[in-house]
């Protein structure tokens, strides 16, 4: 019986969403520091081999969101406070995206909550 659950592979998400997510990831992990310039839509299009309008759509989502801001004639830059805001948003989603699936899977396998906690403690101390 097929009981696996998966999140949709990236191929199923609109490309502009993936572009926005990629830039967000760069900001969260510090590759794109606040105040630095992000790749232009032309660069993004050539690098990912996608339509420039699609790349622009992804970037514009982040501008509308305040994560990026435009400096006329120069390009797009990471806004002040963007990283903290993205982190807050991800923390808010952490329970539904990571903890709940973990608990669901554990329940299917007959692992009780105490066992699960022990496993988490163990892998936490391993790293």
């Amino acid at each position: 019986m097929n009981q696996r659950t998966t999140v949709l592979a990236d191929g199923g998400r609109p490309i502009f969403v993936q572009i926005a997510a990629e830039i967000e990831n760069g900001i969260v992990d510090g590759t794109l520091a606040e105040g630095t310039q992000v790749p232009s839509t032309t660069e993004l299009a050539a690098f990912h081999r996608i339509n420039p309008a699609t790349a622009a759509k992804g970037v514009n989502e982040l501008v509308a969101d305040g994560v990026l801001h435009k400096r006329r004639g120069i390009g797009m830059f990471v806004s002040e406070g963007a990283r903290e805001r993205l982190l807050d948003r991800r923390r808010a989603r952490f329970a539904s995206e990571y903890v709940q699936p973990l608990v669901d899977e554990a329940r299917k396998l007959g692992i009780d909550i105490e066992e699960l906690k022990t496993m988490i403690d163990k892998s936490g101390s391993d790293t």
């Binding site: 949709l8 199923g12 998400r13 609109p14 032309t42």
Partner: protein, 294 residues
């Protein structure tokens, strides 16, 4: 957005066979538009109608006016045809010289660099070029013409994967620098899908899908798992296809992704998979072989 091409209710028949059947299509300014469909679906005929080479019933507007016998329109249009005829004695450099005269925005230096990129021998007679080289020559003309409306009709015959990728890369780079309206007909959907902003699918002379590429990419989803759960997930939705075996089912749902799909699938113990643009097109244009798609 400004419409560069407007086709309204166009029908073209050869004898009793309708090659185009009430086709309507709009190409917006400065977009890369994909024209997808099976062989014989009407892609080439539609392109020939748009470029004024074939007469058809219905309304056809290119840059706001009729394209047929209209020099003002045609000098702004470059049609790279799959089987472009050239005069017998023409060498590669003659084709480029003729293109330089025909297209007001021709970029000779760019053409030179493309000729080198595609390893085209400038002195070779066109009739002695291989199929792939002829295709490459068409691509060079299509790109260097910088025509405000450029149509590529399956421009890659005989080109290997490396040369095709070169075409896609040069197309994207030049389009970013010099935006223009491009109509690209192809059946290599997986290869070009990401380059396209808008997609029209033609099947047996009719437009059967016409939407933004991103929209189409998220329109269909495959859901699989226990039959009862699949039935519950798909209830009231547009199911494009359903496969079943004992206790297990797999359905293609084609009415768009819903915000809570992931959550609902997880709760029901179902697996969700995206349907690629190519699969969606195959699914939509394959009438006889229903069930071929996973």
């Amino acid at each position: 957005m400004t419409a560069v091409v407007e086709v309204r209710g166009v029908t073209k028949a050869y004898g009793h066979q309708r090659v185009l059947d009430d086709v309507s299509l709009t190409l917006h300014e400065n977009t890369i538009h994909g024209l997808l469909g099976r062989n014989g679906a009407g892609k080439t005929t539609l392109m020939r109608v748009v470029t004024g080479q074939v007469f058809a019933h219905g309304e056809i507007r290119v840059f706001g006016t009729t394209p047929a016998e209209n020099a003002g329109v045609l000098e702004r249009v470059c049609f790279v045809s799959e089987s472009q005829p050239y005069p017998d004695h023409y060498r590669v450099r003659h084709v480029l010289a003729a293109a330089a005269v025909l297209f007001p925005a021709w970029d000779a230096a760019y053409a030179e660099s493309l000729v080198a990129d595609f390893d085209l021998p400038p002195e070779r007679a066109v009739r002695k070029l291989s199929r792939g080289m002829r295709s490459a020559l068409g691509i060079v003309v299509g790109l260097a013409a910088r025509a405000p409306l450029t149509l590529f009709d399956e421009p890659y015959l005989g080109l290997d994967a490396t040369a095709r990728q070169l075409f896609y890369d040069r197309l994207l780079a030049d389009y970013a620098e010099n935006p223009r309206t491009i109509l690209l007909s192809t059946h290599l959907i997986d290869e070009v899908g990401d380059l396209l902003e808008h997609v029209s699918v033609i099947d047996a002379g009719r437009i059967v899908l016409d939407d933004d590429a991103d929209e189409l990419r998220t329109r269909a989803v495959t859901v699989s798992g226990p039959s009862a759960a699949v039935a519950s997930f798909t209830e009231g939705r547009a199911v494009l296809h359903l496969d079943s075996m004992t206790m297990l089912s797999r359905a293609v749902v084609a009415d768009g992704r819903r915000a809570d799909d992931d959550e609902v699938a997880r709760r029901l113990g179902l697996e969700l998979e995206s349907v690629s643009l190519q699969d969606l097109v195959v699914r939509t244009t394959d009438h006889r072989r229903k069930g071929a798609l996973r």
